[in-house]
Amino acid sequence: MKKLPLATQEIGSMRKPRWLVNLLKNKNISSEMKQKARDDVSLLNLKMFENLGLDVVYDGEAKRVEMYEYTIHRIEGITLAGRIRSWDNKYYNKGRCIKKLKYKGPYHLDEFLFVKENTNNLIKLPITGAYTLADWSYNEYYKSKEDFVMDISKNIIRPLIKDLVKEGADFIQIDEPAATTHPEEMNLVVESFNESIKGINAKYGIHICYSGNYSDMYPQVLEMKNHQYELEFANRDSWKKGMQHSNRKGYASFMKTFKEYGEKKEIGLGVLDVHVDDIEPPELVRDRILYAAKMADDPNLIHVNPDCGLRTRTREISFSKLKSMVTGTKMAKKKLEL
């Protein structure tokens, strides 16, 4: 895969248009029509990302309900328990593992093939990782969390990746938002990641967000066979422009650790806070990138993305944020003469 310094990319989900949500709820609409509507939104997202100038694209997860629930519906052995609060009146469905899990087939393949057919850009395919699937489920079957996680890694995620890579996927982002919620389990996160990709040649990223201190991943994470970290930073950062450590406090701690350990993996730098409607000025995006590039001693290691999926924002806000991200990245490239 060719090197693209400061490549811009999306992380995951975009909010679905209201008309799609209503259409999917309508019992009088045929499943063929619903599939067509999902394809349309997938294409819409893809073309929006291309038109904005993103270098690496996917379809904004237009065909998935949500990263966890979509996946567990496609694995044998997990049944829905009910809804659990995420915050306030927002809930997510949580599954119970009640028997040995079984892989039922490549659940992201159709959407990947659709994306592949409809873009010439680089594709980054997001999938939910084994550790997070286990951490977010109730374990009623396996003797330990370790057994649960490793069975998902070896017998669900690895066959899935194998099938996707066989069909042309060459950059896979493994979403592990739970990875740093139990710092004492970092060895398990690393082992699970490595088992998931064992023997399968592709570029791999790990996306982690909204938990803990990323520096706590060290030194164990050095053993992880990922090529890129896609991390949430902007949510932790100030909105002041400039490259001083004090203005870039959301990035400083991790970047210092990254440097200390002499890391050479890429960083997918979260430069957009997906939990606020305010649009980051391009100059702020630029300074966040320049700061990280300086700390990493190599701008080639920095890729640029939002903190997380933008599904919590309206499509209009998401569009404006991504536009600012692309403009800010261009400004950083100019400054770095890339």
């Binding site: 009910g82 995420s86 809930y91 949580k94 119970r96 109730y138 919620t181 938990s211």
Partner: protein, 312 residues
């Protein structure tokens, strides 16, 4: 004789979740109706203390976050290692309250006169630890501020309450003896002279190496999370209080086997020789759906029944 009660916030039923999503105009009534049902369920399952299921609290801090002077609502933050988030209180000035926060946010009118009433609050240190402190010199100073607020709040409702349970997940994580002693002093000031039974519930962590630092807190009941603290790895130490065993896993839908729980209680009793034993969930039940919560409360009752003939 084993006693039992539940802790903290309950999950909402599926119908209530739907109602909150559609902003049903009768939401207040629906909350009340479901609270009545859950309170009745506690009574039917012989809970020794009855508590408000707090299903109208958006998180364990929210009534305080929204009603204390000197606090602003901050960003969504992860609630410990859970996939559940709370609004972080941002401390922007000296904190003070009207003293009516608990009075206004707990439905005391739903309890029968026969019931012994328990209320749940986070302890002062946990409140401080979960806040973003932009004002006080230190976390301990802020905890002291929260202690004063809690004292005022608790004084105003003490006549309606038989047990005050301080849920203390942040305190349970502390390892330094000196820091624990500072917090003990704050707790002493918070509870002194209230003349209500108190429980310090050290939920959410393994405190096996640290139990001795907590047993001299001036409370009537110590709660230990025996899902995270493995009883078979503990050293014997005498606890001259009631021991509330957080032995019901509030974060897993797998149902407890009453016989196994009784065996563990026997071991715990032998290790700690407490005044008496209670069984409680190791966290709030809001981490499992309501139907599983109800089943677990029924199992708690079965354990109590099984434990009747045992000399504890």
């Amino acid at each position: 004789m084993i006693s039992s009660w539940v802790s903290g916030i309950y999950p909402r039923s599926e119908s209530l979740i739907e109602a909150t999503r559609t902003y049903d105009k009768d939401l207040k009534q629906l909350f009340k109706k479901e609270k009545i049902r859950s309170i009745k369920h506690q009574i039917n399952n012989k809970c020794d203390y009855i508590s408000d299921p707090l299903i109208d609290w958006d998180d364990n801090l929210r009534p305080f976050t929204d009603n204390i002077k000197g606090i602003e609502r901050g960003a969504l933050s992860r609630y410990y290692e859970n996939n559940t988030f709370y609004r972080q209180p941002v401390i922007i000035g000296n904190i003070s309250s009207s003293g009516k926060i608990l009075k206004n946010n707990i439905n005391f009118e739903l309890f029968s006169k026969k019931s012994k009433v328990k209320i749940d609050v986070l302890d002062p240190f946990t409140l401080a630890d979960l806040s973003k402190n932009n004002h006080y010199k230190s976390k301990i100073d802020l905890a002291n501020g929260f202690g004063k607020i809690l004292r005022k709040e608790l004084t105003n409702i003490k006549n309606k309450v038989d047990l005050i349970q301080f849920n203390a997940p942040s305190l349970a994580k502390i390892k330094q003896k000196e820091q624990i002693q500072s917090i003990k002093q704050i707790m002493d000031k918070t509870t002194k002279g209230l003349n209500v039974k108190t429980c310090l519930n050290l939920c959410g962590s393994d405190i096996s190496n640290n139990i001795k630092n907590f047993i001299d807190f001036n409370v009537d009941i110590i709660g230990i999370d025996f899902i995270n603290t493995k009883s078979n790895k503990l050293q014997a130490i005498e606890i001259d209080k009631t021991l509330a065993c957080g032995i019901i896993d509030a974060k897993n839908t797998k149902m407890e086997n009453p016989t196994k729980v009784i065996n563990e209680i026997k071991l715990i009793n032998k290790l700690f020789k407490p005044k008496s034993i209670a069984i409680i969930p190791n966290w709030d039940f809001e981490f499992i759906p309501l139907e599983f919560t109800y089943k677990k409360i029924r199992i708690m009752n079965q354990i109590k029944m099984k434990g009747k003939g045992i000399n504890l």
